[in-house]
Symmetry: C2
Subunit: 388 residues, 2 copies
């Protein structure tokens, strides 16, 4: 791997270069969970926090007003999708992504790498970047470490992510080693491209399922002037056990004074477990995608709303929930909307599932603050894996 | 036609039987428009009023909260759809339609007749009623004047409609005469079936495009103890001129002291014109259906949001509108949502179009109250027929 001396001083982490965008305010007594404050150009994020995914400039089926009202602090925007449609320059010319989607809170944008590898066709990977064909119209595009930064600067997000290669979980060691080294070189190129001073930038730790490669990746990236680190390449089919162990191992290597983001994870119990391992930020399509498919999270487990048993059930989805959906509608009504294919089904279900995730994060923060040491084992236990 | 003496006293209109559910508070100076108050079991409706259509127990893509917030006073529910799915008994057992859909304001239900004639397959019409096959699963059903009242009583709406035959606009005179006579006999059977005292019932005037048949229908139904009258069989392809002239002719025959409802009409200019002719209540799927198709009403005419010219248009949909959509989003964003097939497109567009309709009704009421005599010709003029 590269020598640290190769990295010019300007892109090395120094006390001065790291304006205190993140501060840990309290550590949990029995786990590695921590309470933090992440300061961005559009406001503060109290961590641990969940970021709803706003793929195409909208969190599907949600008014920004309702996200705000449920305590949502920060959204994730997908650079790949916004770049292809409606285009980053257009969004920039219209005043940036915040104004475009009418969300005045913090936004994190991914680099688009994940979608290039999962949605793009005819991918051709080189040191320069990745050439791919749009899933929308087949047009050819090149993403590079440089242009993903430029695109994210055009979008004007509060936190930009570096370009990384998303490695299949079963890739062999040689491939993972080469890919991870390239991801590190790309990360440095991202830092060099950076121009905006009002946008934080997070590095991404890769290394697949190999602990020594994860370790090397952290060693290389730690000195770089990133405002935070994400752990990538997990939740891609490697299984629960490997996900948990690699995530916990990797987060333990990361500096304490910068936010740690576990990308694309996941289920409520995975998130609580990752918080207890020391992660601060999360995103996942699960609450919104499940909502549209009629799978709903409740304090008593998951509910598949289309099941016949709910046809005449007058109870709210979750007796313990005080979201707009649970305060106003019965399971029977929600089942009816789902069976009838009504748009309101997606609206109410998304509202509830996101509310559930935000209350979960609130309870994580409360557990650290109030030293509820029994919270962690209880919430990662059997509750979530039950299905009603 | 039938003799008035056939109608038993209990079903005849008397001063006593007509508790003052409707009162005209002011008449317009130059037109037949009037301001009224319609009192229902779930609150007062200030007329003229527009009723958004809640086909399957939901106004498509709208939270009840947002309907309330925009000043929506009364909803329309479709008996045909609710009867087939999820079923009227189920809704009754869950506490009625209001609780089911979490709308505590007034609800008018139609009889289902219109959908039986437009959606049902293999229809067989007899004196008893109409046998038809469900558009959902082909199952066979019989609607009669008696059971449409029972179904609406089970739903618990505030205003029930009688069963009528919806006649094609080009039906010949003999057919229209026979059908209208049957509709009158059905109306009487509806009144006889009525049990709830907290539900108003409106008769429906048919008669096709024949003025003398419309007149006879009014003569027959006027003595009946209906709380209001609807004019049906218009807006079914007969053309703008015939619609306006038959509507204006028929409304002029109706008693002054009961609310007058023009069913299924329509475009903003049609509604203003019908208000000036003396109608009080309206329903139409146009604002919500158009919204989902990307056709939006503005003070400067209709907008087709998918048009390329809006791709980079930073202006709100309607500069003169202060709805949530126009206060927060650009035309460029709304176009993007539409092109990307996002659910939020239907949500924001529906919100705007319904807001537009409600402001229009508010302006109608204001014009009568404040004696803005130039309002009527201005609003039924060229404005609405322009497309941007």
């Amino acid at each position: 791997m590269r020598q640290k001396k190769d990295l010019p001083h300007a892109f090395r982490r120094t006390a001065k270069s790291m304006a205190a965008s993140f501060r840990v305010s309290k550590k949990d007594l029995t786990t590695r969970a921590r309470l933090g404050r992440l300061v961005t150009a559009h406001g503060v994020v109290e961590t641990p926090a969940f970021m709803p995914v706003g793929t195409q400039g909208t969190v599907k089926a949600m008014l920004p007003r309702d996200l705000k009202e449920m305590g949502c602090q920060i959204l994730l925007g997908n650079t790949y999708h916004l770049y292809l449609r409606p285009g980053a320059e257009l969004i920039r010319d219209l005043g940036g992504l915040h104004r475009f989607m009418s969300w005045d809170g913090p936004i994190l944008t991914d680099s688009g790498g994940y979608q290039v590898f999962s949605l793009g066709a005819m991918r051709k990977l080189s040191e320069q970047g990745v050439r791919f064909q749009s899933h929308l119209d087949g047009s050819s595009h090149l993403v590079t470490p440089e242009n993903v930064v430029q695109i994210q600067e055009a979008l004007g997000s509060d936190i930009a992510m570096v370009l990384d290669e998303c490695i299949p979980h079963d890739a062999n060691r040689d491939y993972v080693r080469d890919s991870t080294e390239r991801t590190i070189r790309w990360a440095e190129r991202c830092l060099r491209t950076r121009r905006r001073t009002d946008q934080l930038m997070f590095g991404i730790i890769q290394g697949g399922m190999y602990r020594d490669l994860r370790e090397k990746c952290v060693q290389e990236m730690n000195p770089m002037a990133f405002d935070g680190f994400a752990v990538g390449g997990l939740g891609v089919g490697e299984g629960e056990e490997l996900l948990q162990s690699i995530a916990a191992f990797t987060v333990g290597l990361l500096p304490e004074d910068r936010p740690r983001y576990l990308m694309g994870v996941g289920r409520p119990e995975d998130i609580v477990s990752a918080v207890s391992a020391g992660f601060d930020l999360f995103d996942c399509v699960l609450p919104t995608r499940n909502a549209r498919n009629g799978t709903l999270f409740t304090s008593a487990g998951k509910i598949t709303i289309k099941r016949a048993e709910f046809a005449d059930d007058p109870r709210p989805l979750d007796e313990a929930c005080d979201c707009y959906c649970c305060r106003n509608f019965s399971r029977a009504y929600l089942r009816h909307l789902y069976m009838a294919g009504e748009i309101l089904s997606s609206q109410l279900n998304s509202l509830h599932n996101l509310y559930f995730y935000h209350r979960l994060m609130e309870r994580c923060r409360e557990a650290i603050r109030q030293e509820h040491t029994d919270f962690w084992s209880r919430e990662t236990g059997a509750t979530f894996s039950q299905s009603v």
